[in-house]
């Protein structure tokens, strides 16, 4: 098939038909044609015929497909939006079809880690080095020939985007060109777009905040008020900045939309999946029960285990993450964890700048 992406009117692709992927596809469809990939043929059929997915209506500009080759031949700009667990696999499947002129902007707030066979992230003796931890842009660079990569991050709750509420997002990439293309594809009367060249920090901000959303869910689930929530958010911000700095990132992005913006949204909205997990744990459900009844992945669970390892290896003060970890994986009661945090000697305020 001949390439048709030299045209200004080439469709944009969204890979992954989860709730956020669907919201992004609808957003992009307001500016042009969208090819929407789902790995499930039945889902493709439903999207194309019934024009519904993940509880959202499908914009007329969207066509679903489960042919990755078609996507890469017809589109030059791709938005992968799959869970971090599946991300590397999807990139490997895409790799054979991608060309050096493709651009990819991912929407996944999660880490990928490479461990030796038989080792799990929960192993007590595991020392996790920063080089073992991959952000999604690093996975894209490692698994494909595409160099022009970026990410979309910020306070973007899928349900609110689906409801067409106004919002703002950050397109981060080292390449001006990727930011320009991403901005042109996404910007609309309901989506403001900001840029950032520090893609690593933006990605870390988007991932590390997931742990805090779990804690916020617990605070919310226990019915504590806004004082406690503000306490958690500000100390949580300090904690994720310290962690990110220990991983070689700069602080600046954490004070923008992709950092504090995303943290506030995810810690204060019951719509967030991570928040929901925390709230359910506070009400006495176990992690196994929650996972068994969840339809989509809460990245926060994986993030907490990785963040805890980073804090241990890099000797970073991270009492919130250490306690969420204990609640999730070591059967510590949520109330006990909160008691610990209330008795913890935090010392100086704003010690992360």
């Amino acid at each position: 098939m001949a390439y048709i992406n030299s045209s200004e009117n080439a469709p944009v692709a969204v890979i992954g038909a989860g709730s956020f992927g669907t919201a992004v596809a609808n957003l992009l469809a307001e500016n042009g044609k969208v090819l929407f990939y789902s790995r499930r043929p039945d889902a493709v059929e439903i999207i194309n015929k019934e024009r519904k997915n993940s509880g959202q209506d499908i914009h007329p500009n969207i066509t679903a497909t489960n042919d990755l080759q078609e996507i890469t031949e017809r589109c030059y700009l791709l938005f992968p939006s799959v869970s971090s667990d599946a991300f590397r696999g999807v990139m490997k499947s895409l790799s054979d079809f991608l060309r050096p002129d493709h651009m990819m902007i991912h929407c996944t707030k999660g880490f990928d880690i490479k461990l030796e066979e038989g080792v799990t992230i929960l192993d007590k003796n595991l020392k996790l080095k920063t080089s073992d931890i991959y952000t999604m842009s690093k996975v894209m660079l490692e698994e494909t020939c595409v160099k022009r990569v970026g990410c979309m991050s910020g306070p973007n709750l899928a349900r609110e985007i689906a409801n067409k509420y106004p919002a703002a997002t950050v397109i981060a990439s080292k390449f001006d060109e990727v930011i320009r293309e991403g901005d042109a594809a996404i910007r609309s009367h309901r989506m403001q777009v900001y840029s950032n060249h520090d893609i690593y920090a933006v990605e870390l901000a988007g991932v590390l905040k997931n742990s805090m959303a779990l804690a916020a869910g617990a605070v919310g689930g226990l019915g504590f008020g806004q004082n406690a929530m503000a306490f958690l958010i500000t100390r949580g911000l300090g904690e994720i900045i310290r962690l990110a700095v220990s991983m070689g990132a700069d602080r600046q992005a954490f004070l923008g939309l992709a950092g504090i913006g995303d943290l506030v949204a995810t810690c204060t909205s019951p719509l967030s999946r991570n928040y929901t997990v925390g709230a359910r744990m506070a009400k006495g459900e176990t992690l196994e029960q929650i996972i068994a009844t969840s339809t989509e992945v809460a990245e926060g669970i994986k993030t907490v285990s990785i963040s805890k390892k980073i804090a241990d290896t890099n000797d970073v003060k991270a009492p919130i993450i250490q306690n969420i970890y204990k609640v999730l994986f070591e059967q510590l009661e949520v109330q006990e964890a909160l008691k610990y945090l209330m008795e913890y000697r935090w010392g100086q305020d704003a010690d992360f700048m």
Binding site: S7, L98, P100, K174, E177
Partner: protein, 555 residues
Amino acid sequence: MLKSIIPRIKDWPINLIAKKKDKILQETISESILKLNENWSSLPQLREQLQKTLYLENIRIRSESWEVDPEDDADFWKKIRRQLLEADPSKIDENKSKILHQEMLQEIVSRYSNEIVAHFSPNMFWFARQLLVRIFARLFNSHFGGFKGIFNPQEKLKDKLIVAGPVEKLRQLSLKGTVVLVPTHFSNLDSAIIGFGMDYIGMPAFQYGAGLNLFNSKIFTFFAGQLGAYKLDRRKKNPIYLETLKSYSRTNVIAGAHTIFYPGGTRSRAGNIETDLKLGLLGTVMEAQRIHFEKNPSNLAPKIFIVPLTISYNFVLEASSLIVQQLKRIGKEQYLVQEAPQVAGKGIWKFFWETFSKSSDITLSLSEPMDVFGNMLDDDGNSLDKSDNKINIRNYFLSKGQLKADDQREMIYTQMLGDKIVECFFKNNVVYASHVVTFVAFELLQKKLHYPDLFTLLRTSEEFREINWDDFKASVRRIIDELYTMNNKGILKLSPRITTKELPEIIEMGIQNVCIYHTNLPIMRNKEGNITSEDLKLLYYYHNRLLGYGLHQFI
């Protein structure tokens, strides 16, 4: 010694390009002027830059003039000063002023280009090769005795100067495109050693940049001046000089000159493998590749191949002076010392003598060749994606199907290439026993003394420098175990001299090899059999070689 891949020196790209020197110079000058005019499109901007250049050049002439500087240096810049006054746009017609400014720019760029340009003489190359072979014969003869060494020096040389990695692939690629060798940089001798190593594996000669200061030496000028070395003047930091240098480099790479770039910029002062690369000259390679695609159909566009190279020495000729420079730089007022010791001709002779006459060696460890985007290559030089499918790298320069220059995009591509080069430096670093013993000794000392900063540690008096032998041995064991794991994972390469020996032998060899060259020993065993050091700065310098692998965790 491998047969030269292009048998006649006269047919080597460097010689063919040397014959077109005038054309290369013309292109360099016109390209530089074009670029500079793009940057400074208005007369006030150009005038300001010319004034700035004049100012900086006057400072250089006053404060740091060298023997190699042309005799008319001061007169030339006096003339430019006068011309600037005469061309003042507030006093003469603007169009006339513009013309005069362009003439000045032309004169300066032309002067710089003529200073930078490399020369190559096939006869001189042949002569230098014969001379070096005889020097090596003399060295081996002194050690191995008899006539054997004289008649067959190359037999022993292969144990002393090891060129490791994809040698045949590199040779073949040199016929299919332009090879840009990007080595780590520890010593001023690197270029000579790499040059000899590349000749040894039958590669045609490379063009390379040599610091203009080296041309203060008449012997160096006599040889290197005609062996493809172009001149880099690190005193000149004005934008006109830097652009001319870049244009010269780009023009040569486009013309097909196999080139050596040191991406670290200067020698590694701290003794570590460089991680912070200077990407200016490397950026010209990216640009050259794009220009090839602009000027040629995709399938005929010449390709540029990048080959990182990690050099491993047991000891470095200028170690003492380099580490002093480094400590001055990072310590500022905390580190006040006398001038750094300089290396004289005698030192160079001693370096070669100790390297080639005793149980020491040098490894030139080649990485897998890659394209300018860091993609792997097949044997024919085709770029491959992660699944080994062929890809057309022209597409990296496309925007919506159109090939066009984009400076910001190319700058990021160059940064990415830099990251890839650093990764290769580390992966192909051949670890010697001397690196291990110095790393362990310094780390143990740091752990034992617990000083808050490096400078206090380096001032530790001799009586407190002692490290218990058993502790030392146990730590070396742990580090070697970890190095084996890393070697198996492809994170680095262990020297066969380590993999074929037992621990006591490794330690003895390591200490001996790093010490044979230095008067004050960086590491030694004292009367009690414990480890100590006569020169902590040197110990620190050699220790730094293994930084970046996270090995301190295993001490």
